[in-house]
Symmetry: C2
Subunit: 421 residues, 2 copies
């Protein structure tokens, strides 16, 4: 009898944790991803702000799993899932791929709240390509501003609007003025990069809504000290090539970055199981589909109730824990034991605000840290968790240099990439 075949779709935190949790299992694992690399998403904003190179925050999936002999890795895009036949189909591949167990962990993309036409003007930040697009736009805007004779056009090029006051938006907003003030200060002759205008727009009443209120307020103060204009309770009503409309107000800008909400990967709907409004799959407490214990969903793609009517948040530790739980529930079935319900162990939340400042909420908000100690804690945790020894050292080196010399080294704008229109 051949060994059970576990197919994992997605090489993010959820998929990788699932594969690792099955490392001693008597199964054949196939891990499929659209790209060849695992991406350390918590540091993606650093690639977008020229502080780290794409290769610093990513590693080839097959390299990560090279020592685990029961895993094979395949580059491909899943197009269809046939739960009746227990197969999936890859784009451009005729032969369907059979599974005995399927773990779907394909995450989320940014969503534009019914305005897909905004995407062209306001790139979001989910992939390395996104990070490079944002980096190019930012750098090219400064290049153009340097030689723009018209003061109004120049001001538009030096204005950056970030939509969304969650961790990604706050981290981007904190990094931009810091770059202008330090890294770029001596490089330009005609513009004063320390005077870039950064506006952070949030629809809700406060930044970082998932944190305790006192920390939200602290983050806003820290950002404002850096010169960021924070607009809470402000709704974006239009984005086009010339700027952003906020109800009656118009901000003229050439660079808008989107960090305001995501929608689950379309593969969730392809399962034919119930999904919520954001496309997340309504899984059982075991993370299996209702009525189908051979298909599991982990990470951002799963809608899992947590507390106070909230869902388990779309953060890396939650995806890791779900991936592990899904894998263990497959093992339980194979051994004839009962499956267990997923329980989110909330280690806390962290967000960093420029240089030297961060906020951390630990133990469900019981421990709150802000400022420099929180920033050191953030630094320590992120280096610890970065996948792969080599990436850790390289990031430490880059950070050391950035810290000491205020340098942003990863400033390549490739020829093919325009970014600004």
């Amino acid at each position: 009898m051949s060994r059970p075949r576990v197919v994992i779709v997605g090489g993010g935190f959820g998929g990788l944790s699932a594969a690792r949790a099955l490392r001693r299992a008597d199964v054949d694992i196939l891990l499929i991803d659209r790209t060849n690399h695992h991406l350390f998403q918590p540091l993606l904003y650093q690639a977008a702000t020229a502080a780290l190179a794409p290769s610093d925050i990513s590693a080839p999936i097959r390299w990560i799993l090279r020592g685990q002999r029961n895993v094979a890795t395949r580059l491909g895009t899943v197009e269809r899932i046939d739960r009746a036949a227990r197969t999936i189909a890859l784009a451009g591949v005729d032969e369907p791929i059979p599974y005995d167990y399927l773990i779907l962990a394909t995450g989320s993309r940014h969503a534009y709240f019914g305005h897909p036409e905004w995407e062209e003007f306001a790139p979001g930040l989910k992939s390395l390509d996104d990070a490079q697009a944002i980096r190019s736009r930012f750098l090219l805007a400064l290049e153009r501003a340097e030689w723009e004779p018209d003061p109004q056009a120049r001001q538009a090029l030096l204005t950056f609007v970030i939509v969304g006051g969650g961790p990604t938006g706050v981290e981007l907003a904190g990094a931009l003025p810091e770059m202008g003030r330090n890294a770029f200060r001596r490089d330009f002759r005609h513009i004063d990069t320390s005077r870039v205008r950064v506006v952070l727009v949030e629809g809700g009443p406060r930044l970082l809504a998932s944190f305790p209120e006192s920390l939200s307020a602290r983050a806003q103060r820290d950002l404002e000290r850096l010169g960021v204009e924070v607009r809470t309770s402000t709704i974006v009503t239009g984005i086009d090539a010339g700027g952003v409309t906020l109800g009656a107000e118009r901000i003229v800008t050439r660079c808008v970055f989107w960090a305001a909400g995501s929608v689950a990967s379309p593969l969730g709907r392809a399962l034919g199981a119930p999904v919520d409004r954001a496309g997340r799959v309504l899984v059982e407490p075991t993370l299996a589909l209702p009525g189908d214990d051979q298909v599991f969903v982990a990470g951002d793609l799963a809608a899992v109730p947590w507390r106070d009517g909230l869902l388990v948040p779309g953060v890396a530790p939650a995806a890791n824990q779900m991936g592990t739980r899904a894998a263990r529930n497959i093992l339980a079935q194979l051994k004839g034991r009962p499956m267990q319900a997923f329980r989110y162990a909330n280690k806390g939340e962290l967000a960093t605000i420029g240089r030297h400042a961060a906020i951390a909420s630990l133990g469900g908000g019981k421990v709150r840290i802000a400022g420099y100690p929180a920033w050191l804690f953030w630094l320590f945790l992120h280096v610890m968790y970065l996948v792969g020894f080599r990436n850790r050292l390289s990031v430490l080196l880059e950070w050391g240099f950035n810290y000491i010399f205020h340098q942003r080294a990863v400033r390549v704008v490739s020829e093919g990439r325009d970014g600004l229109r």
Copy 2:
């Protein structure tokens, strides 16, 4: 009276050296480049073979020149040069840019010997974009081979043909089998990457024609020991999606890389001065244009006689020396002194062949080194010359890891990039 205005086009070795040689001069310098970065071309093949990140071998031009207050840097593409009016025009910019002195150092692109249709199937290696395209093709070919059921199609995916036996071709050819044998060995389950087939095709009778014959022979032996098939005196007669035709022979492959000759930047012809067959400008011994001492050409774009009927080679030290000479001849004119003829100080030639092997010809071939000592010498020189303290350290770190762990860390294939058809 305003200061003389020196416009330098090109931020490669020639242009940067020219700018630096003018650092104490009472002139206003404008350096224009199509990209925002200086590229350390001698290590470009390492970016193409996933050993170094693009940001390791490049640095923003305005960052390199940040401390030199008489230089301004501008991102732009020169479209026209009007020597009568002494202006240049940038694409998309209405206002022409005036100059008192112009230094053109825009280098060369790869040329396909009258077969521009080959470019699509056989990318060359001149820019970071080129390096990333080659890297993606190589990595994607391995990914596809891993899951290709048909043995012949699989073999085609594991066959790599490099056209051109100069330093770039030799360095690429030496790196590929080494990668397959070490870096990727444990990552794949179905293919044996140590058995990739690498064919190096050279039209002339020997590799590295500019080196002494004994070193050419040594390089060929070293490559063959790595498993590379070296075909000298072999002319490519066709390249298409399915493979390469060498007269009567056909090599079925999905990956062809082009390292066989270059043609000067089209700006040379835009000067309206005499050029040679490869588009290089036939400059005076002073590097000025015939009859126009206000326009100089430096680097690969200049055709400068050397010895034995050869031209000064298109290598970084030659470009550096020309840039400096052009700048000094401008200074001479400003000070009313006579200009001096350019004399190439040939420091020698180097090429590396995989791990632990290289060849070096110093003092016009009087000193010849091969093997491990030459490789150590190569390593030392390239680290020494890499622009910028930070890049040097980062490269040392990468190389240390690659050396100890046989790792190729920079293996990101971005989503947008297909490469293989």
